[in-house]
């Protein structure tokens, strides 16, 4: 995962409330067993009609080609827990998503995939939508260290992110590795923690 420090990119406005993960990546693309290559399926049913790009969908407009900052509306990423959603967004090229609110699981999944989800107030988001619509090639810059979003026309907003998640993005942390450093603690927890059953081993197990 590419470490995230600061970033500047073209913004694209997706003016829809409650964008769910079924819309971000429809289920017919969830049967693959890889983690990569989902960008081509991003927003598939909105982006394509019988395999051809739909001109009425914002991501297909010329002026937004190469966009890497997604402006979105409230409750973005609601629905299923599929991590295929951030995989598709990041594979397509998005590094930042700005919205007034996100669904929990999606929000959490973003940090594991090098995407920074930023919550700004409704008013700020409205303003950014307006500027993106008005100014061709409108760009936003994000500085993770100081937790700020700015544009070159005087916009500046501070956003919240927990120190842990910040580090996760900045350093590209191996979360599992860092938890495994607590292996002793986990083991001693297990010794006194009671669970009333044991699930049998797979009888076809090879190890």
């Amino acid at each position: 995962m590419e470490p995230f420090t600061s970033f500047t990119g073209t913004a694209v406005p997706l003016d829809v409330d409650n964008v769910d993960t079924d819309a971000i990546i429809p289920k017919q693309f969830l049967k693959r067993t890889e983690r990569t290559g989902y960008g081509q399926f991003l927003f598939y049913d909105w982006r394509f009609k019988v395999g051809k790009e739909r001109q009425d969908f914002i991501l297909n407009e010329d002026r937004y080609q190469g966009a890497s900052v997604l402006l979105a509306r409230k409750n973005f990423g609601c629905g299923s827990s599929r991590e295929h959603a951030p995989w598709a967004l990041s594979d397509y090229g998005f590094r930042v998503i700005i919205a007034p609110s996100f669904a929990d699981i999606f929000y959490n999944n973003c940090f594991k995939n090098g995407i920074l989800p930023i919550v700004l107030s409704e008013d700020d988001v409205d303003l950014l939508f307006q500027r993106t619509n008005e100014k061709k090639g409108y760009q936003l810059s994000v500085d993770l260290e100081s937790q700020r979003v700015i544009d070159s026309h005087g916009f500046e907003a501070y956003f919240e992110v927990t120190p842990y998640r910040k580090r996760l993005l900045q350093k590209g942390l191996d979360e599992i590795g860092s938890t495994l450093e607590f292996k002793d603690k986990i083991t001693s927890f297990e010794e006194k923690h009671r669970i009333y059953y044991t699930i049998e081993r797979n009888e076809k197990a090879s190890i």
Binding site: V16, D17, N18, D20, D22, A23, K27, Q28, L30, K31, R32, T33, E34, R35, D45, K74, N75, C78, S80, S81, R82, E83, P86, S101, F102, A103, D104, I105, N108, N109, K112, N113, T162, P163, Y164, E175, I176, G177, T179, L180, F182, K183, K185, I186, F189, E190, H193, R194, I195, Y196, Y197, T198, I199, E200, R201, N202, K204, A205, S206, I207
Partner: protein
């Protein structure tokens, strides 16, 4: 200050609480299925890691499998590969798998409770957002992404900050002819699709105490449709009676010990929730959704709303939804004609759901204009239904009677709603394209779905005339 049920379960599972990172939370039960796990296993292999506790992990296949004859080969090559990958992964890492040949196979959220794996006070995770279902037992259960599936496989823990808490106190009495599904749809309709974001919900009050375990599961199942991280219900005698003698539940002396531990799982009187709301169940009428999120619903006696009459913040979404759904404002719900009816999914595919639907269907025939199917939640449910002769009621009426799986809830297999078709579905999501590209989904209870299948359009199930069924089966 006292503790909420959530606090109690959470605190019991904290392995490590650091200053600079979220708590490391121990996970008691990890459920796995074919769609969100392959990349997690791949990650383990790439880093030379093993599964920490195969004995706390259970796999099944449910999402992308066919629900027709199990002996026929898969027609979908990609789905077949996914299922095969799960088989190989479970073999390699020693994880118990209830595959298509297993008599215990079923939707992951149906099988864990019926096997007695879901127990009060546990932490349960699965790479599926409807894991909230298990909260009906007073277990802290939530959906996770694939990176977290890998984390749990490798460490049997999860890093998680504490959520906020929301109490929904449900007062009054659920009126005759309405169900747990109508209750939860009404709650989501009232508060909205994202109301509980960042919160763990505790459903409280007499109405909840009077629900059966299966009804409680229907309620908790849909917590995520309100944005909730999890849903919880305090375990009580109803819970314990349901669990007693289930396969994985302790027996004898251990059962008594478990009981005394489980009886401590309640919210203290002086505990404080971050938010508390009251909901009066007496007003509930059978629900039908008209939009493309579960919060866009109304009572069967209503008409399709006009966006102008909705709060300004909901208008645009409502217009878009009505357009997608092909609905005119002002249309009475009971005049909306259907092409498909789906009875199934982890929300409503348990034995009580099938009994209730069969009671409506018995003695009637499915309308000629539509295709209706019943997909039991598990092989256990299917066997039980067949023992009671419910399958015959459905088949005689003209329903398809299928093998267990997620099926048309998300249409990853061949059970899809076609473009422009309208479906009454007992599942939990009516998102655009959820049941198939261009599919129009109306969420309803099993009773409402069954009645709609007979009439070909929605009807108020409170006025349904049931016919006596001749005794069939043993």
């Amino acid at each position: 200050m006292g503790k909420t049920l959530y606090d109690k379960v959470y605190d019991r599972h904290v392995v490590y609480q650091g200053e600079d990172q979220p708590s490391i939370l121990y996970i008691d039960l990890h459920l796995i299925h074919e769609v969100t796990s392959p990349q997690a296993f791949e990650g383990l292999r790439m880093n030379n890691r093993v599964v920490s506790r195969p004995d706390r992990t259970l796999a099944t296949m449910d999402h992308s499998i066919p629900t027709t004859d199990r002996l026929l080969p898969f027609r979908d090559e990609v789905a077949k590969k996914q299922v095969k990958t799960l088989e190989e992964n479970c073999r390699e890492f020693g994880i118990q798998l209830f595959d298509l040949q297993s008599e215990k196979q079923g939707i992951v959220h149906v099988i864990a409770p019926e096997l007695g794996l879901t127990q009060p006070g546990q932490t349960i995770v699965c790479g599926d957002s409807h894991t909230s279902t298990h909260g009906a037992f007073g277990a802290l259960a939530f959906g996770i992404g694939t990176s977290e599936v890998e984390h749990v496989l490798a460490t049997q823990t999860l890093k998680q900050d504490k959520a906020k808490t929301l109490a929904i106190n449900i007062t009054g009495e659920l009126p005759k002819g309405t169900s747990a599904k109508d209750l939860i749809l009404s709650i989501i309709g009232k508060y909205g699709h994202d109301y509980a974001t960042g919160h763990v919900i505790e459903y409280r009050g007499e109405v909840i105490q009077n629900l059966t375990m299966e009804e409680r599961m229907t309620v908790c199942n849909m917590s995520i449709e309100m944005g909730g991280r999890a849903g919880l219900i305090q375990p009580d005698e109803v819970t314990f009676n349901y669990l007693k003698d289930k396969q994985y539940v302790p027996k004898g002396e251990q059962w008594e010990e478990a009981l005394s531990e489980w009886r401590l799982l309640y919210t203290d009187d002086d505990a404080v929730f971050d938010q508390t709301v009251e909901f009066d169940a007496s007003e509930v009428v059978p629900q039908v959704t008209w939009g493309t999120n579960p919060g866009q619903g109304a009572g069967i006696t209503d008409v399709v709303p006009s966006p102008e009459n909705l709060p300004i913040t909901q208008r645009k979404a409502a217009e878009k939804a009505l357009q997608y759904m092909g609905l005119q404002s002002g249309t009475p719900f009971d005049s909306i004609k259907l092409d498909k009816v789906f009875i199934g999914s982890c929300t409503n595919s348990r034995i009580e759901d099938l009994r209730k639907a069969a009671k409506i269907v018995s003695g009637y025939r499915v309308a000629d204009s539509l295709h209706a199917l019943v997909v039991p939640g598990s092989q256990t449910v299917k066997r039980q239904a067949e023992k009671e002769g419910l399958d015959q009621v459905f088949i005689k009426a003209g329903f398809d009677w299928r093998e267990s799986g997620c099926s048309m809830c998300l249409g990853m297999n061949e059970d899809v709603v076609l473009e422009g078709e309208r479906c009454a579905s007992t599942s939990n999501r009516n998102f655009e394209g959820r049941q198939g590209k261009g599919a129009r989904t109306h969420l309803v209870s099993p009773e409402m779905a069954a009645a709609a299948a007979i009439k070909g359009h929605f009807v108020d199930v409170r006025n349904w005339v049931t016919k006596e069924r001749e005794e069939v089966g043993s």
